[in-house]
Symmetry: C2
Subunit: 131 residues, 2 copies
């Protein structure tokens, strides 16, 4: 588990760390501001530990702004994971297509073939969904 | 760490498990075939354990084919992780743009502006790389 890609995925495997990334996606934040929403559930050292995991995984970097050292999201770490994922794109798209195929088999057949032909193929979207 | 997305990322945080997924991306395989390349480094129970982690994470499913129960890659599990990642796309694209900006500042300026204009924009690729 020593490679950087494994470290990145391991860092993402925690809801607190993903919540920290979500916060940083809004903009840079210093450690105390970043920690605030989590301090009801955990101690400051626990939050700092999570942050260290994110830093080691290359998902967060500390920048310098005068005496202030805010944290910011590091796109490169995310890119590493996204690039790996991209190799498998056809599989997650296939699983979606299979669902679409299934929905076609269970959906009632249109009575007017002209209307049916003029309907564009709704890739990955159910038309007229009730929700 | 009990949510499914965390389980998925945790399952991806291991090179052996990622290698198993790479093998399954070539097609379905039964456990013994899937295990073969790893048996030099680890025992069969260790391989089976990794496979169980992938199954629990929703990344691999066992199908049924007569008496045979081959494993196959489950696109839906990957989609879950990819969807999460997608929310952060602008960050990894930004980090790429920043690199491109930097490369522009360090690259020698072309002497002939006409030649410079006719050169296509090399997005994310260094031209004339020596390797």
């Amino acid at each position: 588990m020593s490679d950087q890609l494994s470290r990145t995925f391991a860092a993402l495997a925690d809801p607190t760390r993903r919540a920290m990334l979500a916060r940083l996606s809004q903009g840079r934040a210093n450690v105390s501001d970043l920690a605030k929403p989590f301090l009801k559930k955990m101690s400051l050292p626990a939050v700092t530990k999570h942050l260290k995991v994110l830093e080691k995984a290359g998902l967060v970097t500390k920048t310098r702004d005068a005496q202030w050292r805010p944290c910011q999201l590091n796109g490169r770490g995310l890119k590493r994971a996204a690039d790996w994922m991209e190799e498998y794109r056809r599989f997650w798209e296939e699983s979606f297509d299979r669902l679409e195929e299934y929905l076609k088999t269970v959906a009632p057949k249109p009575e007017n073939p002209v209307t049916a032909r003029s309907t564009p193929k709704a890739k990955g979207k159910k038309r007229g969904r009730k929700d």
